[in-house]
């Protein structure tokens, strides 16, 4: 059956017909885009005018997120900023520590089991003028039940006294940089870094499998996609063990699952050959809504966690250089095997030294296994300079920049981590485009919220949380930003022949908007309201979630 939808405007992101008034859909695919008369030429069709007053654009594509955000919403939201949960409830940001504690207390009162842990997420004391949260603060919520609140960055966990007791850490004499001590010689309750968070995490509700997404989490994530206008998303670092894959196939295969999930296998705890073998087997199990067969390699840590690898002169505040999470030899093996077997690799690099390592290593690997169109993508790539972008272009690489970082941590980078000059050119979208590197921009949900229009707003305005503009010269235009969250992201996943624009032959994936992002003005891009999505021709109104 052919359905022709009318719309106030259809922004196609295609060169041929940038805008149109109607789009015809047949069997979940775009039969054509144009005028009603042109489309009627295809034969019998039903005219559906439900979108007559809406603006359609290609379904938005999130090129770097983690479906585990869906699972995180089971915890108590303690963030500074307003955020909408999968069920549409808008959680007002907690602006002070007292408000955070109040929220936790309300959640605590709802817990029936007196021993069950209370877990929170998205805390960020940076927004409380960096007044640190202590175990005594959390004790005011409960001294009998273990409490743990994860920071927005994912690198710090705050716990109460009970949790420290359960973890065997309420004792004097602990000498570890990740465990600050109070005047009483005991830990303050703040735990920095995965090694110290891990042993406590299990006592406060963050169990070992949190990296993997569970069934209810994946379903919740689907709802988040609809709210954000997203029709294709990545799950950028999935463990993808057999049970997880079975679950994901089942959940995404359901009639009304609203998004296509591109899941990348995280390289960890196996040899490069084992990884390739596994990924090739996974590729064979791909379905339309669960695309498998790509790899994610993490090379370094994070800038705000001081674990990213920086070139000279290093961190602005003098902190020691960060950590390598992969050895050059392993990275080389993975890249070579991937090129040889036609498997796409996305590498996480935050620091510019890590970026250099990837560039050098890929350069070498390509000599052994030349590839016309590998499109290996560097994710985050926050500190790359023009010379590095130039090399990326020459090597045939893509980049996915963390535009959201400016808003959430821009002031921190300016003051503390990399200093003013580099902060202004972090996530250099304009330079990337100028150097000809195919570009996408991302949220890295749950680190920052899933909302490509907000991400586009960040790239256009480069405003920090304190309201400063950071790096005028790296701002990009609205058109470029909208391209980045549609065709740009599709290109980094080699899906641009299927999605990313509204053109004949592609999937009927649309973001249905109340407002026109090309007319609302760059400063208001984040305020564009999403009515819902169309994915493979199926309609998902936000109101029905």
């Amino acid at each position: 059956m052919t359905v022709i939808y009318s719309a106030k405007k259809i922004i196609t992101m295609g060169r041929n017909r940038p805008t149109a008034s109607h789009v015809a859909v047949r069997d979940g695919r775009i039969l054509g885009v144009g005028t009603l008369e042109e489309l009627s030429g295809w034969g019998e069709a039903v005219l559906d005018e439900r979108f007559a007053d809406k603006v359609l654009m290609p379904g938005l594509i999130e090129g770097h997120a983690h479906t585990m955000e869906g699972s995180f919403w089971q915890f108590t939201y303690c963030g500074f900023f307003d955020r909408v949960d999968p069920d549409g409830k808008s959680w007002v940001g907690a602006k002070t520590i007292e408000e955070v504690l109040d929220r936790l207390s309300k959640a605590e009162a709802l817990l029936e089991d007196p021993d069950a842990p209370l877990s929170g997420w998205q805390l960020d004391p940076l927004f409380f003028n960096n007044k640190r949260v202590t175990r005594q603060d959390l004790d005011s919520v409960s001294t009998t039940r273990p409490i743990g609140v994860l920071h927005a960055s994912g690198h710090i966990l705050n716990v109460n006294t009970k949790a420290l007791e359960l973890g065997g850490m309420l004792k004097p004499g602990i000498n570890h940089p990740g465990v600050p001590l109070g005047d009483d010689g005991l830990p303050t309750g703040e735990l920095k870094g995965p090694e110290v968070m891990s042993p406590l995490g299990i006592h406060v509700g963050f169990d070992r499998d949190l990296q993997a997404c569970d069934e209810s989490g994946l379903k919740a994530f689907g709802k988040l996609c609809v709210r954000a206008g997203v029709t294709t998303t990545t799950d950028l670092a999935a463990r993808l063990n057999p049970e997880a894959v079975d679950m994901m196939l089942e959940v995404t295969g359901a009639d009304r699952y609203p998004a296509r999930v591109v899941a990348l296998r995280y390289f960890m705890g196996m040899t490069p050959q084992e990884l390739i073998d596994e990924v090739l087997a996974l590729k064979a199990r791909s379905t339309d809504r669960l695309r498998l067969g790509r790899i994610k390699v993490v090379t370094d840590g994070s800038i705000q966690g001081f674990s990213a690898r920086l070139r000279w002169p290093g961190y602005y505040n003098g902190a020691a250089n960060g950590l390598w999470y992969v050895s050059p030899q392993q990275l080389s093996e993975v890249l070579k095997l991937a090129l040889k077997n036609d498997v796409m690799v996305h590498t996480h690099t935050n620091g510019d030294e890590a970026t250099d390592l990837v560039l050098d290593t890929l350069d070498e690997a390509l000599k052994e296994h030349p590839s016309r169109d590998h499109r290996f993508t560097i994710q985050h790539c926050q500190l790359a300079d023009s010379s590095q972008f130039h090399r990326m272009a020459k090597l045939g690489m893509c980049v996915n920049l963390f535009a959201n970082h400016h808003f959430y941590w821009g002031d921190e980078h300016y003051r503390l981590t990399v200093g003013p000059e580099r902060a202004e050119r972090m996530n250099a979208c304009a330079t990337a485009l100028a150097m000809g590197v195919p570009m996408a921009i991302h949220s890295d949900a749950p680190i920052t919220p899933l909302a490509p229009l907000f991400t586009a707003w960040c790239a256009v305005n480069r405003i920090t949380a304190s309201g400063r503009t950071q790096g005028h010269s790296e701002k990009i235009g609205v058109a470029e930003a909208l391209y980045a969250i549609t065709m740009g992201a599709a290109y980094t996943l080699k899906l641009e022949h299927e999605v990313g624009s509204i053109e004949v032959g592609k999937r009927a994936d649309f973001a249905v908007l109340e407002d026109d992002p090309t007319e609302i003005g760059g400063e208001k891009l984040k305020d564009v309201r999403v009515w819902g999505t169309v994915q493979d021709g199926r309609i998902f109104p936000v109101a029905d979630l």
Partner: protein, 308 residues
Amino acid sequence: MNPAPEIARALLPLTILGGYLGSGKTTLVNHLLRNANGLKLAVLVNEFGDLPIDQDLIEAQGDDLISIAGGCVCCSYGNDLTLALIDLANMDPRPDHVILEASGVAIPGAISAAINLLPGYRTDGIVLLADAETIRTTAADRYMGDTVLRQLADADLILLNKCDLVDQGALDQTRSWLTQQKPEALIVETVRAIAPPQVVMDSFLDRPRDALRLHLPDEFESRTLYPAPPKTATDLAQVLASESLGLVRAKGFVTVANGTRHLIQVVGRRWQTSPARPKTPDAIVCLGLDNRTDWNAVEALGLSAGVE
């Protein structure tokens, strides 16, 4: 004769084996497993690829655990070292000693600090393997250089491996360079990563004397000290760890001036003491290296039972 019960119920000792790729960690691990002499070793590796354990030692192999002759095991910690350690401490039967083969780019000091947070564990020492052929080049590598230097800085003992593959002149230069990087470094030269188990793990200092004698190569010596009660355990421990004495390891019990008893553990220049109530008399087993250890000074600390 088993170690005194107080030690057995105490924290699970863990040795961190560090060093860049190709330095010989895996070879050393296999050597230790072959010479475990009844000690139940648990080896922790990042991943099982490229077979970390020699085939003939393997009894059974699962996804995350390899069973090894002699009641030893090898586990992969993959994503989460901390949780793997917690699981290991809960194993039944419990291992006697854990060897953590750190990844080639890991910073052993950071791992050690993290392990000391875990109830149930104590770090026995950081043993670092350095490839005599390549260590200086790697330390100058633009990407890995600072990582390698940090590894060296964290080491309690340095095993300078593959000494047979470099000529004497180059070896001397490398030794001298190592000493510059870490002035008090205790360097043991090895070939094919073969170092006596007693050097790598202090649990072997609890073993019966005849086992010690059988396994020590010529350049090593083990003597037992019966020191007079020091003022504090710290005083004696600091002396035993001093560079002038040049001991590789020391471990044992001492009664201090106020009558309390303590356990002293020394590896290279690092020492720890803790209160103890052992059933055996005071004695400290000292492991030394020819041309490095001043046995006269050691003996001056207390009556020795003689060379063993």
